[in-house]
Structures are given as structure tokens and as C-alpha cells.
């Protein structure tokens, strides 16, 4: 597996399988870890960062974490490759930032089910991604990877504050649990505030598609924990499994039923209009594509349209992003050329006219 082969398809976590995958797009666990006896990334010089980078890379690659792992040295990769990894949620925007002088890397494995960022805000950020509602499975894998790495390296840890992290908001378990949810009906019925309120009561954050500060494009929302200290990993997981996710699922399902009952024609109009535009438009921007794909996805899940399936829609969510689009067409393009190429790609994949 390499970056070029990756581009053609969506990663495992976007396959549209797993429990509740009509609403829960993906589950993600992230563990923040630092090596004992080293300064944190923000305080260390080039040589120290280099030491951490090579040590972590060697231990990850020789630790037999997965059958195949690829190591990407971000200092040696192009802007476009880094952007590609951001679009696939394998690295953060922060990790992609900066030029080639950055001593950063990422290990990607298991059909893109995990990515370990080295020298992001913390020395190690272990992330596991799964399609649908599979937080328990994602946590198990993250925990196993963590066990392997901790048997080979000393982590910065103290008994009072737990795993020590560069930002004190991650200290303790260093865990971030998050789910990405597709909530088009709550958006259409103007009830998305219900989700925010429910999340707030549990001290959870609600964000858009690409995390911090991003808008909820394509009606995709990420819900994640904000506190990390004072409770065991399983307790954070339980909030999601037993409280917030079932609650949001029922809100969205109710909103979908309400739309079907009270405004079936308007609903069908949204769905078929999205289909018509996606299969015939000649110029399309990213944001509008995400919106139309969202309505189309809702239509398929409600059985109102069967001209396309969920995996194909999920794939288009990804392939129409700027870096993927340019990788697929094989050339760098300015924004207006990209809009034309995007429309062409969608017509081709959906069999439009």
C-alpha cells in the first residue's frame, strides 16, 4: 500500500458498514502519549525532535502492530500529499502544517484503520478509526497498540495526573472518544440545537467535519469528550455507548419519520434535486457537493431513491475534496478548473449525463 494506491478508494472507516451506519459514519479513539525523559514537542529543538521521531518510528515499525504499516515522513512529502492525509482523517490539520523543516511523521496501517502521528502536539497520537458505531472495537485496538508501544518505550506518566501531555486539557487518560454523525433530518427540521444541548449536559463537544473550528458541512457532526482526567477510559466510552449516541440516534430517527409523514414531497424534492444536480451540473464547489451528497445519502437510507448506494456516496464525500480530486486527475489545478473536474468526476461515478 502506498499513498497513490490509497487515493482511488475510501479507507476502511468510510465503507458504510457497522452498526447504525445510516447515521453513525465512523467511530474514533485517540490516545495522547509522550516519551519519558524528553521535552515536549513545542519546547524541543530540531535534534531532540529528530531523536523522538526516529525512536518512535523504529519502535512502531519493529513492534509488529499490524501486517502492513506505511511510514510517511511528512518533512519529505509534498503539500498535496499532506492535504490528502488530512482529507482522509489520518493526520490533523495541525500535523500537516509547516514546510519541510518539520520533523513529523505518521504510521498508517491496517487498511487505514489506524494512524499514529509522531511529533504532533504530543510525541505520539495513536488514532484508531472504524466504520459505523464501533467504539468498543476501536478502543480495543488503540489499547493494544498502546500496550505494544509502552512495552518498548517509557511514557511520561505520574500517579496524580496520569499520562502527561503538552496541553493540560488532555492529561489523565489522554483519550479522545469521537463519533462522526450524519444528521440531515435534524438540520432540515431545524432541531440540531437539541444535539448541542444533549452533548453539553455531558460536557461533550460538537464540531464540524474536520474538527476544531470547522463548519458542519454535509450535515456531518463530530461529537467528542472534552475532559480526560478523573474517569477511566471505559467510563468515557460508556457516555457515548449508553447515553449520547442512542439519544442522538433517536432524535435523528424521529426527525426522519416526521419529514416522511409531514413533508414527503418536499423531502423527495430535496433528494431528487440533489440527484439531478450531481448527475448533470458542469461546475461544482466542495461545499455544495457535500450538501447534495448529504441529501442523497438521506434519500438512500430512507428508501426514497435507489439509483446509487451508500458506499459510493461515502466515497464521493472523500474523492471530491481538493487533494483527492487533483490526485485522481493527476494534475494540480486552480480552483475554477477543480470545480469543473469535480462535476465531471461525479457525473462519471454516478453515471450521469
Amino acid at each position: 500500500m502506498n499513498l497513490a494506491q490509497m487515493t482511488e478508494h475510501a479507507g476502511e472507516w468510510l465503507r458504510g458498514i457497522g452498526p447504525h451506519s445510516d447515521i453513525v459514519i465512523s467511530s474514533r479513539i485517540r490516545l495522547a502519549r509522550n516519551l519519558a525523559g524528553h521535552l515536549f514537542v513545542n519546547r524541543s529543538n530540531r535534534r531532540q525532535r529528530y531523536d523522538v521521531l526516529t525512536r518512535c518510528r523504529d519502535e512502531i515499525l519493529s513492534g509488529r502492530i499490524a501486517d502492513s504499516i506505511i511510514w510517511v515522513d511528512l518533512g519529505e512529502s509534498s503539500d498535496m500529499d499532506r492535504q490528502l492525509l488530512v482529507e482522509r482523517h489520518l493526520i490533523s490539520r495541525q500535523h500537516a502544517r509547516g514546510g519541510n523543516e518539520q520533523l513529523r511523521g505518521v504510521a498508517i496501517g491496517g487498511e487505514e484503520t489506524f494512524a499514529i502521528m509522531v511529533n504532533e502536539e504530543d510525541h505520539l497520537r495513536i488514532q484508531v478509526l472504524r466504520s459505523g458505531m464501533q467504539l468498543a472495537e476501536a478502543f480495543d485496538q488503540a489499547n493494544r497498540i498502546d500496550d505494544v508501544l509502552e512495552s518498548r518505550m517509557d511514557y511520561a506518566f505520574n500517579s496524580r495526573w496520569g499520562y502527561l501531555t503538552a496541553c493540560p486539557t488532555n492529561v489523565g487518560t489522554g483519550i479522545r472518544v469521537s463519533v462522526m454523525l450524519h444528521l440531515p433530518a435534524l438540520k432540515l427540521t431545524g432541531e440540531i440545537e437539541k444535539v448541542r444541548r444533549a452533548a453539553r449536559d455531558l460536557h461533550l463537544a460538537v464540531r464540524g467535519l474536520f474538527g476544531e473550528g470547522s463548519e458542519a458541512l454535509g450535515d456531518l457532526y463530530q461529537v467528542s469528550n472534552q475532559t480526560t482526567l478523573g474517569r477511566a477510559e471505559q467510563e468515557f466510552l460508556a457516555d457515548f455507548q449508553h447515553t449520547i449516541v442512542p439519544q442522538i440516534l433517536s432524535y435523528e430517527q424521529q426527525a426522519r419519520q416526521a419529514l416522511l409523514r409531514q413533508a414527503p414531497s418536499q423531502l423527495d424534492d430535496k433528494i431528487w434535486r440533489a440527484w439531478a444536480i450531481l448527475t448533470h451540473a458542469r461546475v461544482l464547489g466542495t461545499d455544495e457537493v457535500l450538501q447534495y451528497l448529504s441529501h442523497l445519502r438521506l434519500g438512500v437510507n430512507l428508501g426514497r431513491i435507489d439509483t446509487v448506494d451508500i458506499p459510493k456516496i461515502n466515497e464521493l464525500f472523500l474523492l471530491t475534496q481538493p487533494a483527492h480530486l487533483q490526485r485522481l486527475t493527476g494534475c494540480e489545478m486552480d480552483q475554477s478548473t477543480r470545480r469543473e473536474a469535480r462535476a465531471a468526476l461525479i457525473r462519471q461515478r454516478l453515471g450521469g449525463g
Binding site: 515536549f40 519546547r43 535534534r47 512495552s151 500517579s159 489523565g172 472534552q226 475532559t227 477511566a232
Partner: protein
Amino acid sequence: MKRKCDKCDRPATHHSVEIIKGQKIEKNLCDEHAAEEGLLVKAVHTPINELLSNFVKIHSGGGGGESKDLTCDNCGLTFAEFREQSLVGCPECYRAFEKGLAPLLERAHEGATHHVGKVPARAGSGEARQQKLMRLRKRLSDAVSAEDYEMAAALRDDIRRFEEKSS
């Protein structure tokens, strides 16, 4: 339009609308009266940056400013620098800044004061070891800066032996 508190003349900072049995109940309250009503208990999670700037405010407002003079011996970060960037510089900062950090962490983590959950298998021999390693690495870094390569090579061997001893 600035609303006034329902119960006094101060500006309202807490607004809520509840619908109970079809009745719309709107409340606009100042901090003090909101706390009285118990509305502050469910306070929204405050991002750390905001906590930090509030912290700065309290401490520059006179009295109790001891934390701001704290410095981490290991990495040289001062508490004031930490407040600006909201990142600490090394594991030792947690010890050096404990007095200033503890109240912040408690607020950022909804009152939690101690870690619960996973402990690394190797944590037992842990903290003294970590400090020793940190000291060795610091000496190594100093030796490299001073271009004392003989010393640096010796320290590197020490570090390797020390790491191997425990793994």
C-alpha cells in the same frame, strides 16, 4: 440590546428559555442571581484558553500572584509563558507548576483532581527513573551545544545502558 437581570439592575449574562407544558419561560440573570437559581451548576465547559485568561485576570487583579513566578528547572518554561501558549514544555512542568496548574486542571476537567484509569505497565519503577533519564538527556544536550563530543558520547552510552536496564 443589553438585557438587564430579572432580579437586579446588573446586565444579564445568563439567558435561558424553557418550554414547560406549552408555557414559555424566559430568564435573564446576572452571574450572582444565576448562581442562586442553580443555573451555573450546569455551566458550559469552558475552554482552557478562557480559563487561563480568567486566571491571569484574577492574579493581575491583586493578591496571590505567586504562581506566575514559577519556573520549570528542567526546561526553563515560566508559568507566565505557559499561560500565554497553554502548553507546558516537559513532564517536569507538572511538578514545577503544580500549585498554579491544580486549580486550572480541576476546572478544565469538571472537578477531577486525580488520574483514574490505565497505568502503563512500566510505571512502577517510573518517576525516579524518568527524572534520572531527563537529567541525563539534559546533560547530553548541554554537552552537544558546548561541542564536548567526548562527553556527549559517554552520556549517550549511559542513556542507552539505563534504558536497556529496565526494558
